[in-house]
């Protein structure tokens, strides 16, 4: 897609102040990697998220440790492309600088309970006549009985409905790896900001957008609300308003992870049962699937159940890598379950030059690439800043003169 690329990102003219914690920082990253000028203020002790793991393992002499001592790979990933401004809440000049920064922003991304909360008057920033767009990310919205509840990712995922779907009968409900719930609220925060920018540009309105992490998670649960609303009617699953957690098995029962001779593989006979059946016939593993009962459209559930049973027996005899490639050659969407180590060597990612280098703790480290590709204004990955690295530059940008210091 490189033939018409330009150097500036899509959001090159957008000025953003990033006052987020884990709940919103992914949204600020999405904007920064698309070229917005995203300034992330830090208190004198440094951004609290610089303590989050994993960390670069440094040598004994500490040769890899950067000037500000930050070795957090969490921070390197989530704070990419920011500029850092030191703000001392106890210092009147610093507070004035911070206020001016906010006044010159197009978009302010804010999370309640952020270290800067005492410096941010969100009611004033969202009052009529203000020119800034305020994206206010909170765990449960601005009011209601749970508004003050504390919700790290595991609690947010529990209350939001994600955990109840994940795990199986031999495990408790499980959270997704890492903090995937907060990557949903982060993505929504970016959408809120960009939609508000569009409204400002086309309708001349500046506004506040409240983003509830709880609602964000609940809006991305695939089958959960569908079963509650339609199980007894259009879904024809009487009494199944709530599906129990069922491991890797999809709500349709037509996708699941099976174990082969040397690993796991996601197996499905969809979208073309006949194609899968033909393969099983070739392999003489079709059991009784040619019986007339399975070709009656009214017996789809029976067909799915029996097919999955036969597939499990068949897959157990297979080398999963060979099975995956053979399935894909037949346009059947099996998925080889990959450990993370193998994802780093994935031929598709390597074939697309997907990974990028990112400067972290004095080293160039291979890093995840773009989640999307824009033909004229490409996504760009830049380093996360050292603490306060851009303070002088930012103060100059906002017109803070030396005689004010």
């Amino acid at each position: 897609m490189g033939q018409e690329e330009s150097l500036e990102g899509a959001l090159g003219r957008l000025r953003v102040v990033d006052l987020t914690d884990e709940r919103g920082i992914y949204g600020a990253k999405l904007l920064a990697d698309l070229g917005a000028d995203v300034i992330r203020p830090e208190p004198p002790g440094g951004d609290p998220l610089r303590a989050r793991g994993p960390h670069v393992q440094t040598d004994q002499q500490g040769a890899d440790v950067p000037a500000d001592g930050c070795t957090s790979l969490y921070y390197a990933y989530f704070a990419s492309g920011r500029r850092s401004l030191l703000v001392d809440p106890g210092d009147a000049t610093s507070r004035a600088q911070f206020s001016r920064l906010l006044a010159r922003a197009d978009v302010i991304l804010f999370c309640d309970r952020h270290w800067s909360s005492e410096l941010v008057d969100i009611e004033q920033l969202s009052a009529e006549g203000t020119e800034q767009i305020l994206i206010n990310v909170s765990s449960f919205g601005t009011d209601g009985p749970w508004a003050d509840y504390l919700a790290p990712d595991i609690v947010a995922g529990a209350l939001g409905g994600a955990m109840a779907t994940t795990g199986d009968a031999s495990t408790p409900p499980l959270k997704a790896f890492g903090e995937l719930n907060f990557m949903v609220s982060g993505a929504y925060a970016a959408i809120a900001a960009l939609a508000a920018v569009h409204a400002r540009d086309t309708q001349n309105v500046a506004q506040r957008v409240d983003v509830s992490v709880h609602e964000c998670i609940a809006s991305c649960l695939e089958q959960v609300f569908m079963f509650y609303w339609y199980a007894d009617g259009a879904l024809e699953r009487p009494g199944q308003q709530v599906l129990p957690r069922q491991g890797p098995t999809h709500w349709s029962n037509a996708f699941t992870v099976m174990n082969g001779q040397n690993g796991s593989i996601m197996i499905t006979p969809t979208p073309d049962f006949d194609r899968q059946l033909a393969w099983l016939i070739e392999e003489e593993a079709y059991g009784d699937l040619l019986e007339p009962q399975y070709s009656d459209p009214a017996n789809l559930k029976l067909l799915i159940g029996r097919t999955m049973q036969l597939l499990a027996e068949w897959v157990a005899t297979k080398d999963v890598e060979a099975l995956f490639y053979e399935a894909q050659a037949r346009h059947i969407p099996y998925g080889w379950v990959q450990p993370l180590a193998r994802v780093g060597d994935n031929p598709q990612l390597l074939g697309r030059d997907w990974f990028q280098n990112q400067r972290i703790a004095g080293r160039d480290i291979r890093a995840p690439g773009a989640p999307y590709h824009l033909s004229r204004t490409p996504w760009q990955l830049k380093a996360a800043p050292d603490s306060g690295q851009h303070t002088a530059q930012i103060l100059a940008d906002i017109g803070w003169q030396n005689d004010h210091e």
């Binding site: 939609a195 569009h198 609300f225 079963f227 996601m266 994802v343 697309r352």
Partner: protein, 404 residues
């Protein structure tokens, strides 16, 4: 009142979940999303009366086009010339064959933002591979990472990556719109759902490349940070519960102060006041014992009452809510009007519902939720609004078999 994307025209060639979720978000925010379907494709989960379709296609208008007909392809090209956004998640090359590929459309409509969402992207050795969300979860590492230590066969219980691909598609489209506002020019966007999925392991991939450490499933523990307790615990339930009837509560002490508050709730038993448990590393080292003790404590308690007691003293805790809980017991979702009973009955299903867009715009609220439209239900209105066709023109197209 206006909505943020009022006036934006979106021509939607998407199906299943990822693409339709992107256009659902745009439609909820006021874009005029024209969903293109056809008689031959409107089956199973692509049929307007299938609950799966109903979930992702509210707030869109329905156009039916028989793309096997040259006249339908010509109409489609005219519609694409009027679109601000074209979104495609057919297999690579299908829209090109219909004459509405990026090169053709952008030549006639240089302002168009043309988003192509595919499983693997448009080039690379796996670009022809077919995928659904469970395929992507498996290939991207999300399945092997989500589970308990020693197992790689659990994974996520819903199509997380489809939702996220839709959201990322929307982010990219809105960014390109902002850029077009400045430059007047559109562009092409390519979204590989696989790359979206791999991206979610970002910090772990950096750990792999910087330190050679490959993350593995950690159950309900945080993979990198010393936090304990950080798990779910059983609560009081009906006798002999089914899996769906079980009650659980998540409790996470992210700080020593939160642990001390929890100890107070526990009644400060001797085991909990041990010096070794007053710091996070000490608690992490004794995680199994902590989990056992806490489960003994929670097992006889009501989940919602216990959550309220924990939160009242500053301990992060949350009931593991299922769909019924979200719909019937969750005061925050009720207060937000999250479940919307759509006013106009669906022609065949009757009452349908929407889960509200979780964004509350102060000046351009998104409170309008219209039912899913049947195949071709808006043909005449769309062709008049976008192309200025008369009722007679549309009737002739009907007769010619173009609109089916």
């Amino acid at each position: 009142m206006s909505r943020p994307l009022d006036g934006l025209r979106v021509l939607d060639f998407s199906h299943v979940l990822a693409g339709p979720f992107a256009t659902r978000v745009l439609g909820d925010m006021g874009a005029d999303v024209v969903k293109v379907n056809s008689e031959s494709r409107a089956i199973t989960s692509n049929a307007p009366d299938h609950p799966y379709y109903i979930m992702w296609n509210r707030n869109k208008r329905a156009l039916s086009l028989n793309m096997a007909e040259a006249s339908a392809q010509a109409l489609c090209r005219q519609l694409a010339q009027q679109a601000d956004v074209v979104i495609d998640n057919f297999s690579v090359g299908v829209l090109d064959r219909w004459g509405v590929g990026y090169d053709t459309v952008s030549a006639a409509n240089p302002g168009v933002i043309y988003a192509q969402m595919s499983g693997m992207g448009d080039h690379g050795p796996w670009s022809k591979f077919v995928t659904y969300a469970p395929t992507i979860h498996a290939l991207s590492g999300l399945t092997s990472l989500t589970g308990v230590p020693g197992r790689e066969d659990i994974g996520l219980g819903f199509s997380y990556n489809d939702h996220q691909s839709g959201l990322h598609g929307a982010v990219a489209i809105l960014a390109a719109l902002a850029q077009r506002q400045a430059s007047g020019r559109g562009q092409r966007i390519e979204v590989s759902q696989f790359e979206v999925g791999v991206n979610f392991a970002g910090p772990s991939l950096l750990d792999l490349f910087a330190n050679g450490v490959a993350a593995q499933a950690t159950g309900n523990d945080l993979p990198y940070d010393a936090v304990a307790p950080h798990n779910v615990y059983p609560c009081r339930t009906v006798p002999e519960p089914s899996l769906a009837d079980e009650r659980w509560i998540a409790i996470a002490c992210m700080t020593d102060a939160q642990w001390q508050a929890l100890v107070g709730l526990l009644g400060s038993p001797d085991w909990a006041t041990e010096a070794s448990l007053q710091t996070a590393p000490g608690r992490v080292a004794q995680r199994a014992m902590l989990d056992k003790r806490l489960a003994e404590w929670t097992r006889s308690q009501d989940d919602y009452e216990l959550m309220a007691r924990c939160q009242a003293v500053g301990v992060p805790a949350g009931v593991v809510q299922n769909g019924r809980d979200l719909c019937e017991r969750d005061p925050q979702l009720a207060r937000a009007g999250f479940q919307v009973a759509i006013e106009e009955p669906h022609p065949t299903v009757g009452q349908t519902w929407a889960d509200r867009l979780p964004l509350n715009f102060s000046q351009t609220p998104c409170d309008d939720y219209q039912r899913v439209r049947m195949l071709g239900e808006d043909n005449a209105a769309i062709l008049e609004d976008w192309l200025g066709l008369t009722a007679e023109d549309v009737a002739q197209h009907e007769v010619d078999g173009v609109l089916k």
